[in-house]
Amino acid sequence: MERCAVVGIGQTHFKKTRDDVTIAGLIREAVDRALEDAECTIADIDAVVIGKAPDAFEGIIQPELFLADALGAAGKPLLRVHTAGSVGGSTFVVGAHHIITGIHERVLAVAWEKQSEGNAQWGLAGGRSGGIGAGGAFAPWMRAYIHQSGAPEYIGWQVAVKDRLNAVKNPYAHLKIADITIEKVKESPMLWDPIRFLESCPSSDGACAVVLTNEAGGRRAPRPPAWVEALSVRSELAQFPGRNPVKPQAGVDCAHDLYRQAGITDPRSQIDVAELYVPFSWYEPMWLEGHDIAGPGEGWKMVDSGETEITGSFPVNPSGGVLSTNAIGASGMVRFAEAALQVRGQAGEHQVDGARTALAQAYGGAAQYFALGILRAEPT
């Protein structure tokens, strides 16, 4: 097996509406930045992997076909990945597999969403009216978590304040609310009990791309690469008897597989920074427990004690996370890209000091698809 290195990272500036560019133009902004970072051109790419959330979001079926020109994919393998909201993470994983298996030397992986061209809530409802949206689907599980863990109501507000303040330090983040306070979150309108407006993600337009290469490519990269230490994907059905949607088994299995590959026995002390897919505030403590970083009922205490702050012992979402930026298809890849930026020491104002090992996580569907990765500053 080959080692895989992330040598190029590119993101668009995420916004509510990018009506100045086409979908292709939006994607190329991220792609061109990733190529520039890797100091290569689109002609140097051997294969392209592209991911996005449901086609209904923009109303273009199999958009990878018409995007082939913009991706410079003529005559090259072009593969579409689709695993709902986790797709950006899965796309990274599939791209990395192209390298790890030794099939290709340089792969472009890109994920995107242009939510302003459609209506995601309608798309999620499969064309039926009266859809409850993602927040409505997840709210009962967040309530169940609060009930089971005994977490105080303010934990969700704390996560919202933290992520929104982190976003102010990230030039690519969509929502930047520098004057956010616990009071403001608490007083914002209730959308889906227990989730208030300021505890929810926005709808964004944007794209994220990475250039992946093998060990030789990583060693001659113009800038320090991020080394892919471990990858894992798992999925489960949205409903089945005995399912625990608060802590899905697929998420547990995915994390354990990841930690085993990376030789991690105590994730809380062995991981320096985590980018977790947190579209609603309560998912931060839920995934800390859902991936066995914290024990049962301990996730919210990590939030409460400030451990997940950018200066804490286990920083979560220094980028501002999905709470601040959610171009759905891109969001999973942004987690991997941000984790890579951290171990490359290139996260700028939201850099976590001394980050050497980073966890990237994406989830999708009814909390049923998972893609996880460990990125390191040095190959092991």
């Binding site: 086409t22 979908i23 133009g25 190329r28 109303g59 003529a74 242009k114 459609g118 064309g127």
Partner: protein
């Protein structure tokens, strides 16, 4: 249970599900559509000097971003064609016509469009055609209604 007492016709209720999307057309496709509204045909020139028509943002062969628009035509040459003797309601014209590959003067590629030739005998590869634009142009692709033989 059914009975025939008094019920003489099926009763139905129609519902229509619609969801409109907004497509951002960007600087190149946008210029092409605006050109159609103004009765102009725009292509894009690539690094090799070839003019691709209709205008595209990215070179399909190399992925190069194309930024130089070029007015082509308005007349063009038919590179190939097929006759549609029995148009359906979904076809662009309500009378027999040809689907043709049309390469406007100054362009190096052809687009598929309809030739309102009236009679199959009028059609030939290499024939000259001119665009016919709709009276009320809106800056959308159907502003270009059809092509006509140049006599």
């Amino acid at each position: 249970m059914c009975s025939d007492s008094g019920v003489t016709e099926l009763r139905t209720s129609e519902t229509k599900l619609e969801f409109p999307y907004t497509r951002t057309v960007g600087p190149i496709v946008g210029a092409f559509l605006t050109g159609l509204r103004d009765g102009k045909l725009l292509g894009t020139r690539n690094r090799d000097g070839r003019v691709l028509f209709p205008a595209v943002e990215y070179d399909p062969e190399t992925g190069e971003a194309l930024t130089e628009t070029v007015e082509v035509g308005p007349e063009g040459t038919v590179d190939g064609w097929t006759w549609v003797a029995h148009p359906t309601p979904k076809h662009p014209l309500d009378r027999p016509f040809a689907f043709a590959l049309i390469r406007p003067d100054g362009a190096d590629t052809a687009m598929v469009h309809a030739v309102d030739a009236g009679d199959e005998a009028t059609m030939s590869t290499g024939m000259r055609v001119a665009p016919r634009f709709r009276q009320e142009a809106k800056g959308i692709v159907t502003d270009l209604e059809a092509w006509e033989p140049v006599r």
